[in-house]
Symmetry: C2
Subunit: 358 residues, 2 copies
DNA sequence: TGTTCACGCTAAACCGATTTACTAAAAACG
DNA sequence: CGTTTTTAGTAAATCGGTTTAGCGTGAACA
């Protein structure tokens, strides 16, 4: 367990000062030059023993860590982990490492992690903020002056850089699509949440229903509920409201729980009930029937985050900026009635109550 | 952007020495006591201004960071991210933060990350090692003396703590199950890899085939191949070997690509072809038909990792130890022929070549 | 009463880099 | 040739903690 050598060890060995070594390694500060022979001697030696400066000491002195913190709700959610991976790859290319952690929707934990990140002197933050940490983020920016990029949702009152998708438009298109494909009573299953991505999706749904003159069926489920419970709640919602013949789910995992509920009810998709999910999933295409979804442009989101952050790290002053990316509806089998394809026979369309057998 | 205050600022303010503060905050070192009044004064003040020591300085001086590094292939793989999350939750409880990153099967990147972790003075490592980093891990232990827990796979030559599942047993059970359910020609689709979890699975399959006196069909796919390409390769493998009437996939994502291939070939599961996946997936139960899988006990794996690591962090000397957890076969529709349930009519079983229409 | 010891506390060294401030020597200038 | 400027290099301060070594003072002991 031999000890790593420090810049001073090298200085002693080479009979030069630590200062010179530091200058050489950091590409000589303007005006402070090192002669070519000394420079070469140092470089060669450093190379030969594979010396790398101690990052902790470097961070302590400079206050910069070349680390970006990423904070999401749940790293095992494919939406977050996919974006996380793309971001990681790209920040890596410009010399930043990324440090990610998940809050599990626990405000205390989020605060704690944020504090830890700050203590570790991370250079910037990428956050899908959970409710309740608005003030911490505010504090982060004021006290530390570090750039913060929020994604998936944001706090309108904060001067952060935000990257989100057009939630309202996405939900609107999806709901409209269901109506146009002959589903007369489209329900919206969402979370009881006032985060703005959720309210946007709800808005989109309501707008579509309003424009089409259809009744609204909205189920708001509690946060932090386990999948089994969600399935039960969705199931009883569908049972209670027999008129419903299509459902738009507001998130990834609601769709999954919803599909389970539908399968328990022995309803056939799309014949008995149409389905569209918000957030696509690698597996939706493989389900039978395949599931129509509002796909978020993961790659674009990630790239925007990286780009905006990189820019903010360079510039001194940060200005608020919100980038809204389009969502895309990927139509698959679950939202298209086979006999509805011929739009000339709309009278063939029926509500589930009339044709299901249960 | 007011500056955070340091221990020296407090010392000046309170007219005590920084040493005393440090002693109080770190629970007075044996013999070096601080009188009760002073102690209280310090504690009260620290509390009132919410002072927290600078972790960077602390790490620089002590060499301990209270951070555990976690390195996996791909953080967006549900297997890794689920385990990661459980580990994160539990290490958090005992005062450690976790810092995870993915290697993307890139050896150079793995080495780089390992070096960065070391430079950041992490206290321990949790690694699903990719091939080629054996020497780096070796070096890590020798030079740093930090505890290392490998999981999912390990290097038999290294003195690490290992947590793995019974890959051979899992694959054996799965293959046997297919044979017993009337699938006469079971293929094994795996990766061209000599990592030991993979060779274990292959062993299990071969053993089952050997014991049942069946022919072996093995497809070894290259590493780091994109899903579309994988689908193509699996498809042509199934097309070429028409006798195959069941497939055991060696990993999560191979199963997904395989299902796509099977769907493209218009083969019905399980009538034309039986399917079992290694690694379960939240969505497999929702596919239609639902997919039989060898489930790894995610929670147990994570808990074992946490426990063993916690123990190693306490003790000074680490001893090698390999924990093998059982895998469980979760039988669903994809591996059970409807008409094969009545085992008394085994002659009804047929190979795909005789009944498919393509 | 003089010596020892324990207690309570602190000055200073240290971790390993960066950066400021300064010096000696060489070069440029008048 | 004397003075100023530039150049090459280094000593020392700094970041913010922890830890070692040591210093008075009062209590215990002989």
């Amino acid at each position: 367990m031999k000890k790593k050598l420090s810049i001073h060890d090298i200085a002693r060995e080479l009979k030069v000062s630590a200062t010179s070594i530091s200058f050489v390694l950091n590409g000589a500060v303007a005006g402070k030059k090192v002669s070519e022979p000394v420079r070469k001697k140092i470089l060669d030696y450093v190379e030969s023993i594979g010396y790398k400066p101690n990052l902790i000491a470097q961070t302590l002195r400079t206050g910069k860590s070349k680390i970006i913190a990423m904070l999401v709700e749940d790293i095992s959610d494919p939406f977050f982990s996919s974006i996380g991976r793309i971001i990681e790859d790209n920040l890596y290319k410009i010399g930043y490492k990324i440090f990610h952690s998940s809050t599990n929707n626990n405000t205390a934990r989020a605060k704690d992690l944020l504090r830890m990140f700050r203590d570790r002197h991370v250079d910037g933050y990428i956050i899908a903020p959970s409710p309740g940490i608005e003030s911490d983020i505010q504090h982060l920016m004021n006290t530390e002056g570090k750039p913060v990029v929020l994604f998936d949702r944001f706090f309108p009152d904060l001067e952060t850089i935000n990257v989100v998708i057009d939630n309202e438009g996405g939900a609107y298109t999806a709901a409209k699509h269901l109506v146009e494909n002959g589903f007369s009573n489209v329900a919206f299953v969402t979370l009881h949440s006032d985060q703005n991505q959720m309210s946007g999706r709800l808005q989109g749904y309501m707008k579509a229903m309003y424009e089409s003159g259809r009744r609204q069926f909205v189920l708001k489920l509690p946060y932090n509920t386990d999948p089994k419970e969600l399935t039960k709640l969705i199931r009883s919602f569908i049972e209670t409201n027999r008129e419903i013949n299509a459902v738009l789910f507001a998130t990834n995992y609601l769709t999954v729980s919803g599909l389970k509920a539908i399968s328990e009810l022995n309803l056939k998709i799309p014949a008995d009930i149409g389905v569209v999910g918000f957030d696509d999933n690698t597996h939706f295409a493989l389900f039978s029937p395949s599931i129509t979804a509002v796909a978020q442009p993961l790659k674009d989101i990630a790239m925007q985050i990286v780009q905006q952050l990189a820019k903010a790290l360079d510039e001194q002053e940060r200005k608020r900026k919100t980038t809204i990316l389009p969502a895309e509806l990927i139509v698959r089998e679950s939202s298209v009635l086979p006999y509805a394809i011929d739009k000339t026979y709309p009278y063939l369309l029926k509500t589930r109550t009339t044709n299901q057998n249960r």
